[in-house]
Symmetry: C2
Subunit: 275 residues, 2 copies
Amino acid sequence: MTTSRRPTIGVFDSGVGGLTVLRALLQRIPDADYLYFGDTARLPYGSKSAATVAHYATGAVHYLQDHGAELLVIACNTATALAFNEIKSASRVGVIGVVEPGAEAAAKATRRKNVVVIGTDATISSHAYQRALQSKGVAVREKACPLFVPLVEEGWVEHGVTEQVARIYLSEAFSDDARDADVLVLGCTHYPLIKPLLRRVAPDHVNIVDSAESTAHAVAEQLRIAPLHSAEESEKRGVPRLKFFATDSAEKFKKMGTRFLGRPVEEVEHVDLKE
Amino acid sequence: MTTSRRPTIGVFDSGVGGLTVLRALLQRIPDADYLYFGDTARLPYGSKSAATVAHYATGAVHYLQDHGAELLVIACNTATALAFNEIKSASRVGVIGVVEPGAEAAAKATRRKNVVVIGTDATISSHAYQRALQSKGVAVREKACPLFVPLVEEGWVEHGVTEQVARIYLSEAFSDDARDADVLVLGCTHYPLIKPLLRRVAPDHVNIVDSAESTAHAVAEQLRIAPLHSAEESEKRGVPRLKFFATDSAEKFKKMGTRFLGRPVEEVEHVDLKE
């Protein structure tokens, strides 16, 4: 347990994608310390059953708690979609997932009550965003974009091929009932890296809601409403301390992670979680 | 155990990709029965350690043996590259991997002793093809093509995007020292589906070696040299019996598998292997 009065926030993802959420958190809440857990040896969660995902995610969040996390951010769309309640009931501390904040921001941003959500196959098949948005009276078109993650991982974030793929996916997404949709939700933590490209390709009238940013906003709100410490201002300042845990190679995590975090990923510790 | 005199061949892969190997086997050896095991719940193997892959693969081949397989084909480049010896020593029956037959066919086909191998990140990083080819006195350029698998899984096997990606990858592969290479080895079981496209994009003088076909050839050779049964010709005829096992959803396996096998995938049984 940390003895500092700065809050320690634990961020969990199946891989490096959640680092875009950490990046948004660092921008919005620089006066905190962060622990990040990437379950890189067992990704992708998308092809696994809800029970398995819940089991893996619970192990990871326990690890983060045991290392001092006082608030948990599930920066993994699949884990949030398939196992949020299980993770929540297994946690001693507060938990914020990535779906609800994105859906809430989209519901606020849409004037036409008509939204397009893009994500991986697993996230889209779960219909987690659909449920969250429909409960707010918003019509939803969900569109799986399975090529975006490998394109981002290939480093082709500003590439003709990625732009062509985006044109195909978005023209399919913004068709028929969704022709009038005025919000595009980025329902995958890899997508912020191609946000400038998606901005160019999406119809002009469309607002882009980045669920990484929405989640950081929700975490800031939560800390405002219920601060973890009665910290004095002077003790809150300083550079955030970042510590990373990965279940696969630390070197691979550093290399890939730096692109997602937008700054060097340094202190990475390899962790072997029991199956 | 089967009481028929037709051989029962077990085919193992982490997913549906190995069905292209089964497809080649069915063409070359129609007078056999086949058991196929796809470890779809635990794919991709590429991000896992050699020890984990060996553990998973060994479990799967034991399952195939227990269900009557008399010869095992490891139709998974990653499992062959990372764990072939472990699988072999854990098996009571003969085992044929997918790397050695591909390398052997390439060594025979190249006149310039200069070969390009394409595959997934995991297969290329393992340098299994490089080792196999260099031991035969052949120079090798290895090139990872991580976008091909998701493009094939998206169904874009004859698509402008896939062609553009192939042009980029192959022009990088056939450059510098590999400019004169006269053989292209398809070192991934997904790639036979884009073979016509790769044929168009690859330099004209290049021969394509499909390791699925090379493996089927190696299995036929093995059966010729050491038949499993002293079968009478009359008992060998008939339609091959196909039985599939998948560790993830049987429905998903059927749907995706049909495209890889080129015929309906019917009898699929869900299997839950202990971790």
